[in-house]
């Protein structure tokens, strides 16, 4: 075995003579790039970078070259790095481990239940052929969106983009057959053992964009956890039951029917069970009492202000636009969303809470210490 490893290392060293290490990144770095990175979600993959505005042609050249002439150099070494990323984000991270197990419990058929980073056994099965096939299947011009935010002049930029990206041959992306998750028909509960303090995650299945109920869920999330005067903060965090308690709409992605999440960290001596009960009380209240107009207005006010603030950052804007394009099919979703949110009524909140936030539709995941049996 040691002999084989030694031989492998020799071969790798020989092969590395033909590689100019990190040449691509070096070009970006040299020209003042910041935030050069890529990110994978369940719905889309993002490739991002920030550059001084006079370097736009560098970006066009490097990005179009990458799309046209990509080479998966050092694939297997990089696969090792991916294993390390998994260890970092999941194996040694209680929230990551809980999140992975939670999703695979909530989604037993739909790929939203599959870990993004991958299980170790799956990572070890990845090879260049599979990666190439994925690329061929999905990295086609019509499946991609370019988002440029900053000091760009459309009259100059669009011809530039045409020059560099226009000759990428059109190709139909391969359709992936995706199974629809059947109705849950009963509560699911898991415990995840980890040497860490308790944490609770609860999820309810729901329809995604552009279903009208999705906007209601966004409003519910605002009422429950946007700001210090929100319900979960006042009734759970400020009462000392938990050090964090929040809700979140649209997990783990937004292109397919997804989950509305409640989560939090109980504060000793309060237990995960008590936090769970406190969260259910808030849910029951939504079903029982109409929300006051004041609470709506509070959320709408915060939403409007956050729109103004979002305009301060190029990368923030780029991310919103990209996410809207990928999940809703158009960047215009950002603007129409605001209109739709303003139309949500108290009756909608009650109806949606009663329809979806039910016992038979929920999955619960809790971190427990190994000696807590």
């Amino acid at each position: 075995m040691a002999e084989l490893e030694g031989r492998l290392q020799e071969l790798q060293e020989e092969a590395s003579r033909f590689i100019v290490r990190n040449e691509y990144e070096a070009w970006y770095t040299r020209h003042g790039a910041q935030g050069f990175n890529a990110a994978t979600s369940k719905d889309y993959t993002l490739y991002m970078v920030e550059l001084p505005s006079n370097k736009i042609e560098l970006w066009a050249l490097l990005e179009s070259d990458r799309l046209k002439n990509y080479v998966l150099r050092d694939f297997y070494t990089e696969r090792q790095a991916v294993l390390e990323e998994r260890r970092l984000r999941v194996d040694t991270n209680p929230f990551g481990m809980l999140g992975e197990r939670f999703l695979s419990t909530a989604f037993q058929v739909h790929p939203y239940g599959v870990s993004i980073i991958g299980l170790p056994s799956d990572i070890n099965l990845l090879n260049k052929e599979k990666a190439n096939r994925f690329y061929q299947d999905h990295y086609t011009p019509e499946n991609g969106v370019i988002i440029l935010v900053g000091d760009v002049n459309p009259d100059e930029t669009i011809p530039l983009l045409e020059k560099y990206f226009g000759n990428i041959p059109a190709r139909k992306p391969t359709e992936t057959a995706i199974s629809k998750e059947p109705a849950q028909r009963g509560e699911r509960r898991i415990e995840v053992e980890f040497d860490a303090e308790p944490y609770v995650m609860i999820g309810y299945h729901k329809p995604t964009i552009p279903h009208k109920d999705n906007y209601v869920f966004d409003m519910i999330s605002g009422i429950l956890s946007f700001g210090r005067t929100s319900r979960l903060y006042k009734n759970i965090v400020e009462k000392g039951i938990a050090i964090s308690a929040y809700s979140y709409n649209g997990h783990p992605g937004e292109r397919h029917d997804n989950l509305f999440i409640f989560a939090g960290a109980p504060r000793t001596p309060h237990t995960a069970g008590e936090l769970e009960e406190a969260l259910y009380e808030e849910i029951e209240r939504l079903k029982r009492e109409p929300v006051e107009r004041e609470e709506f207005d509070r959320v709408l006010n915060l939403v409007d202000a956050s729109f103004v603030r979002a305009l301060q950052s190029n990368s923030g804007m780029a991310y919103w636009l990209a996410s809207s394009e990928a999940t809703a099919g158009s960047w215009r979703y950002m603007l129409s969303w605001r209109e739709q949110i303003h139309r949500v009524q108290p009756e909608d909140v009650m109806r949606v809470a009663r329809t979806y936030l039910s016992e038979d539709n929920r999955t619960i995941g809790v971190i427990v210490k190994p000696d807590n049996r």
Binding site: R21, T29, F36, E57, T77, D91, R228, I243, N301
Partner: protein
């Protein structure tokens, strides 16, 4: 053709060759020519209120937002050592504990009705309090902000809650291996008794009283200890009277912070602090002290470049290349070099998170990279890459007005000359490979290296004691 027309035709034919735009798609970045970057960052203006309080002003009417920053010229280094954590707790309670005229609920409601934010953070050597508000709410926002800064209420219920939250935080701080490592590294480097190495303990937190909070507030939030900066969509003639109204009736308490003892910096043989935790990936930190910064220190330019090459420049650094890129031993790897400590020497460390079996191998590779930086000059290519990178990315320090004003405010507080930023990229351009090696030799000391490892030794292929003297540590200590 008449002479003028010939000249005109000549000029038109030369223009494309000047390469403002290449006419065909280039195939390699070398062939690209870029127009010069139009970069003229605005300069904040400096004024004084009638009580001597300095104010920096920078108008920016792009969005209807105003930011008011308050620089606090003192930090957690001055905390009483039997109450480590007091200053940030106090800062948080300024926001959540109400004021002498407003209940905590009223402050929350008022701020939220305006979608305004107040945030107060106290660092080691200074703190920043910030009000972020829409233009239309500046008067009310400023009134609440001043109330919070001058006369916090420290309501008992909120104090109890905040203390309880801190205690829960202490319970949870061993859940993340990096958090463990980053706590014990300075503890051994500077000593636990020194503010640089101490960390919050349950007993100290529990003992915090209102009197402690008031004392802390008095020590930090004194007009002589503060500087203001206002950026955004304001008019100078209308903002100054507002600031005068709220910030000049503030009496100074002339509280003198105690002198700080010098830290007893670790000077023994290489040490391995080992925290056993059942993880399939080990967290490694290794390093020592960096420098005590002064405005006149000229090492800083070569030092910056040295650390970028060593491990800060994400995908092109040596640590990244040797540990991740060539060997796939880590996803997260790099180096950190503190150049912002002016009271005492800061610290530097290289870090990596690697599969447990390879803990010692990875640590050895990291040490080898550091040795290489000291032993040989970096190549011309590496140097040029980072010099160009720092020069070309300089613009990112100026992407928003409040960052610009804050930067100016802090540079002045530290005593930098006015043209420091103007000359920065020039100084970067002057750094040689020899300078970089000099910095590596001077600052990357391996003789007294402190290595922290958090992981499961049952998995290690090699024993830790090959790296240095091993000291097992209980993270609950």
């Amino acid at each position: 053709m008449r002479p003028k027309k010939i000249l005109h035709a000549l000029i038109l034919s030369i223009l494309p060759l000047l390469g403002v735009f290449t006419s065909a798609a280039a195939t390699t970045p070398d062939a690209l020519r870029f127009s010069p970057l139009r970069f003229n960052p605005p300069q904040p203006e400096k004024q004084k209120l009638s009580n001597g309080l300095e104010v920096y002003l920078l108008e920016d009417h792009e969005l209807p937002l105003i930011t008011v920053d308050v620089l606090v010229k003192s930090g957690t280094l001055y905390e009483p050592q039997d109450r480590v954590g007091l200053y940030q707790i106090m800062a948080d309670l300024m926001r959540t504990g109400g004021t002498t005229t407003r209940s905590p609920q009223k402050v929350d409601e008022e701020l939220e009705s305006m979608a305004a934010d107040v945030d107060i953070t106290i660092g080691r050597e200074y703190g920043i309090a910030t009000l972020d508000v829409l233009t239309e709410d500046i008067e009310q926002g400023l009134e609440i902000f001043a109330d919070i800064l001058k006369t916090p209420g420290f309501e008992q219920g909120r104090i109890d809650l905040r203390k309880k939250q801190e205690l829960e935080g202490i319970r949870r701080r061993n859940d993340d291996p990096f958090d463990i490592g980053i706590r014990f590294f300075p503890a051994y480097l500077y000593g636990r008794e020194h503010p640089l190495g101490s960390y919050a303990e349950a007993a100290g937190i529990q003992n915090i009283t209102v009197a402690d909070l008031l004392r802390a507030h008095a020590a930090l939030f004194n007009p002589d200890n503060l500087v203001l900066a206002v950026t955004g969509d304001f008019d100078e003639d209308r903002i100054i009277p507002l600031l005068e109204r709220h910030f000049t009736d503030w009496k100074s308490r002339h509280i003198r912070q105690p002198d700080l003892p010098e830290p007893d910096i670790y000077s023994g043989k290489p040490l391995v602090l080992f925290i056993q935790k059942d993880l399939n990936q080990s967290t490694i930190l290794l390093g020592h002290i960096s420098l005590k910064r002064t405005p006149g220190n000229t090492d800083i330019f070569a030092l910056r470049i040295m650390n970028e090459i060593l491990g800060e420049s994400s995908f092109t650094s040596r640590l990244y290349r040797e540990v991740r890129d060539k060997r796939g031993l880590a996803y997260s790897v790099g180096s950190y070099f503190d150049t912002s400590s002016y009271a005492f020497p800061g610290d530097w460390f290289a870090f990596a998170q690697t599969r447990a079996e390879k803990t010692v191998e990875t640590a050895s590779i990291m040490i080898g990279v550091i040795e290489g930086m000291k032993r040989e000059r970096v190549s011309g290519e590496e140097l040029e890459l980072i010099r160009d990178s720092l020069t070309n990315s300089f613009v990112f320090g100026f992407t928003d007005s409040s960052a610009i004003a804050r930067q100016r405010m802090i540079l002045d507080f530290r005593g930098y000359p006015h043209d420091y930023l103007e000359n920065y990229t020039e100084r970067i351009g002057e750094v040689t490979a020899g300078d970089v090696q000099k910095m590596a030799k001077k600052y990357l000391s391996l003789d007294h290296l402190i290595i922290v490892v958090v992981g499961n030794e049952a998995y290690f292929e090699e024993p830790l004691n090959t790296l240095g003297q091993v000291i097992p540590i209980d993270p609950d200590d």
